[in-house]
Amino acid sequence: MEAPYLAIPSMGVSAPPVQPPTGAIPGAGPGDILKESGQREVFCGLTSIVWLHRRMPDAFFLVVGSRTCAHLIQSAAGVMIFAEPRFGTAILGERDLAGLADANEELDRLVKDLLERRPEIRTLFLVGSCPSEVIKLDLAKAAERLNTQLVGRVRVLNYSGSGIETTFTQGEDNALLAMLPLLPSSDEEQLLIVGTLADAVEDRFRLIFERLGITTVRSLPPRRSTDLPPVGKGTRVLLAQPFLSATARALQHRGATLLSAPYPFGVEGSRDWMAAAAHAFGVPDDRFNAVLDPLVERGRRALEPHREVLAGKRLFLLPDSQMEIPLARFLSRECGMKLVEVGTPYLDRQLMAADLALLPPATQLSEGQDVDLQLERVRAARPDLVLCGLGLANPLEAEGIATKWSIELVFSPIHGCDQAGELAELFARPLRRRAVLQLS
């Protein structure tokens, strides 16, 4: 069996973080990219609300859209646990479209009612949708107007989660981008972790950074919507999620430095991710190794039983959450899986640089989707496992192809060395299950 961890140059702290590749690095990284456009089997950006509202319990997400938007969020979320969730849809009706009702007045009325019911709300996101974009309802102006009305009580922000502009996880990118102007400016030295993490995972990372001597660690989005981190020249940004292109760029405009690192999935990715921060903050190698080595060792032990199931198995990743490239890197390098095709809704080369460079040579990447054509390739390749959305999982299983639902990855705590075993287990479980069942 190969020893995947030994020959990785980027593991050493003394080595600089992986350089962004300017093209295909010889002997590593992806091969030609297949670009497709056609029917896409992905959610729109509104779906991000499902985890954003949990991250910031004092925020409310009001989609201005149609019954379809409301139905989408409740179907995608699947969870109906709260009497009144912290998200909702202002459904446009015929009267609004015909101009019989002034959409702005209607929105003001609705927001007023909502905030009376929910006095604990501190930040209100007006979320644009396909219909509101098409009729050019100016939510920025609406937010501005409401902000003056509600000054001192509630902050009103707006962004678009529409399907015509955003896919699935890009909704979070737009939401964070909308928060940026509110971030105070400060040149204080700090590490800023950007992207929603499960609270428990975030706590772990903070603890580890503290052990490394990086004491000022802040998060965007914060746990309380009003508890916004400052940003400025002393800010070093570590992206926890791979889908935050616009936010990352806007933070750079505010003077922050973007650290290049693989995303913190798996032992290697998490270690390199923390190494990038350690390097930027001048943490000595021995200290870094002293803190990380036990975690790495433990993480690898947790991975081992799942690696036994996954090694040598062929994986096809359909585009969905934008996490496909980092996950493919983790599953190939740390779990020994063979990559048949790695699909991604869109490819941001700068944000994916470190992960792309670690993909096996000539990995087939695809960007965008024409779902019928892609499924033909899946059928032709007969992979052992397909990562896909919920609309495709049972149909593929019915054809005898094992699947892993991608949506679970945005809900589960999967970041960090401590979660590497769990992350691998998510992929190993469908294969284990198939091995266990004796039904015919």
């Binding site: 029917q39 729109c44 202002a90 009612d113």
Partner: protein, 561 residues
């Protein structure tokens, strides 16, 4: 503009998808942006379908809007027809496409596709899912039957023509569809029931039908409108255009099944069997074929008498439930309502029969409030009510869409016909028995044999239920994994309702005097909660400033009516 948090029905194009996916040989091209494909998972996850819904989405993006989206529509239509070779094509648009007015149906009409094409115009900003389903069935049947339309003035076919033609009478079963409640099993049950009475089924539609099957609809002697939400308009049109009589009684429950059979025999001019005639002293078909009548009469069921039941569902199931609950199980219906505005009149009539005012709304918070105010002991509702009931700590049985994956059981469990009545008896009485079990758990809680960790199936009651409900609480799919416990614990229940609720509770609790509390404590624990609630309601109604022992007994007398 209307604020919606959770919805009972999706948009109308989801109704059209239900029809396309229920059928075979039909393909639906939907002009829609990225994201609208979410609706696929309703079928693949809730119904566990092993096939993708037969829907092609044009997936237009913002950058397409400046260019030629019409060309995109045409390309998608052409590719879909080539790839899927459907027998019939539906072409329509979702809410956003409706705004850009490409008129995909008109474009398709000009394409010379060589297959029957139905242009679906489903107004997304005024109509909803069930309306969309009904309109799709109607438009599809109308399009396919156009060549067969009898000339005006043609005499109506006699419903007893089967006799002259020397064959058994035959009917169509119209309305069953995916994401409807137990349609798969209802069709089986009704087909068997009809066979026992010598009646054949010509066409079942839309569930499992091909376009060619729809073309056979006029060969039946009558149409059975099994689900008015979906088949009402098409049955009326077939009656008008082809003169086919419609059997409109929905056979859910003992009484309704008997009425259905009598109506059917009448329409088809069949002699009524002795067991369907109401003759004193003779066993009825219902008593012979279903266990519900005897189970309901048996002494064990005495405790069901007067149980306060709150019902909210689609119109068909709500009306059926109100009759079964009041007439066949001896419950007291304390609330009846529906989200089906199209059938509001029928629901209102059913409510009026019980001396109630029907609740017609699609706001689940209004429903939850009504449920709490009615002091229900059992809730019969949709998945939405199941969640509300859980929060209120009430037992609940699901009787209608919207569905959860658990409402599509593996076992045979129809709602209609004699077996349906058996299923209903079990599934409505079971949660009540579980309710009694709660009391036993409470009763023995302090015994040393009692092991910690015996959990109520209702969760931990209202406000603290967040994490408990979280493990189970999943509305549309039950498929999405529950988030990490660490994150849920900090989130807590929605403060909006609980804080307001807690304030009211506190205000009420402060009314009790020491002797009132002492008297309350003497009441057996398993009715104590109810007595407390009733007494507080009584005190509020009378404007009492304190609740002492006398007030408690006044309230007891008041509620013993």
């Amino acid at each position: 503009m209307e604020l919606t948090l959770w919805t009972y029905e999706g948009p109308p194009h989801v109704g059209a998808m239900r029809i396309a996916t229920s059928m075979e040989g039909v393909h639906y091209v939907l002009h829609a942006p990225q994201g609208d494909t979410y609706a696929d998972l309703l079928f693949t996850m809730i119904e566990r379908r092993g096939l993708r819904p037969p829907v092609t989405y044009t997936t237009f993006q913002a950058r397409d809007l400046g260019g030629d989206t019409a060309e995109l529509v045409q390309r998608s239509i052409r590719q879909a027809v080539d790839r899927f070779q459907p027998d019939a094509l539906l072409v329509g648009e979702s809410c956003t496409a409706e705004l850009i007015q490409d008129q995909p149906g008109a474009l398709a009409a000009g394409m010379n596709l060589g297959v029957p094409m139905v242009n679906l115009e489903l107004p997304a900003y005024s109509k909803k899912e069930n309306w969309g389903a009904a309109e799709t069935v109607y438009q599809l049947v109308r399009t396919l039957l156009k060549p067969q339309l009898p000339a005006p003035g043609t005499p109506k076919p006699s419903p007893s023509r089967w006799r002259e033609e020397g064959r058994r009478p035959r009917v169509n079963l119209l309305g069953p569809s995916l994401l409807g409640f137990r349609c798969r099993d209802d069709v089986l049950e009704i087909t068997r029931l009809l066979a026992e009475h010598g009646i054949d089924v010509a066409v079942v539609a839309p569930l499992g039908a091909r376009p060619a099957d729809l073309e056979r609809i006029p060969t039946a002697d009558a149409n059975v409108c099994l689900y008015p939400e979906v088949a009402g308009p098409v049955c009326s049109w077939l009656e008008r255009s082809f003169g086919t009589p419609v059997v409109r009684t929905v056979p859910i429950g003992i009484g309704a099944t008997a009425t259905f059979l009598r109506e059917l025999h009448g329409v088809l001019d069949l002699a009524l069997p002795a067991e369907l005639q109401e003759v004193e002293g003779q066993p009825s078909e219902a008593e012979r074929r279903s266990r519900l009548p005897w189970y309901s009469k048996s002494v064990d069921s005495t405790y069901l008498t007067g149980k306060r039941v709150f019902i909210f569902a689609d119109a068909t199931h709500a009306i059926a439930a109100s009759r079964i609950a009041s007439k066949e199980l001896g419950f007291q219906v304390v609330g009846l309502g529906s989200y089906s505005r199209e059938q509001a009149r029928e629901v209102r009539a059913a409510a009026a029969e019980l001396g109630l005012e029907a609740l017609i709304t699609d706001d689940y918070l209004v429903v939850e409030k009504a449920m709490a105010e009615a002091a229900a002991e059992l809730v019969l509702g949709t998945q939405m009510e199941r969640h509300s009931a859980k929060r209120l700590g009430l037992p609940c049985a699901v009787i209608s869409a919207p569905l959860h994956v658990q409402d599509v059981p593996a076992r045979y469990s129809p709602q209609m016909g004699w077996e349906g009545a058996n299923v209903i008896f079990d599934s409505w009485v079971h949660p009540l028995m579980m309710g009694l079990e709660e009391h036993l758990i409470g009763m023995f809680r302090h015994d040393f044999e009692f092991v910690d960790g015996h959990r109520s199936h209702l969760g931990d009651g209202a406000p603290a239920a967040a994490s408990g409900a979280d493990q189970e609480g999943s509305m549309a799919t039950a498929t999405v994994p529950t988030p990490a416990p660490a994150t849920t614990a900090t989130t807590g229940p929605a403060p909006g309702t609980t804080t307001a609720g807690a304030a009211v509770r506190e205000a009420l609790e402060s009314l009790w005097t020491a002797d009132g509390e002492a008297e309350l404590a003497k009441i057996p624990f398993f009715v104590r909660g109810k007595v407390r609630k009733n007494t507080e309601a009584f005190a509020r109604e009378r404007g009492l400033e304190r609740i002492d022992a006398e007030a408690l007994y006044d309230a007891k007398a008041h509620f013993s009516r």
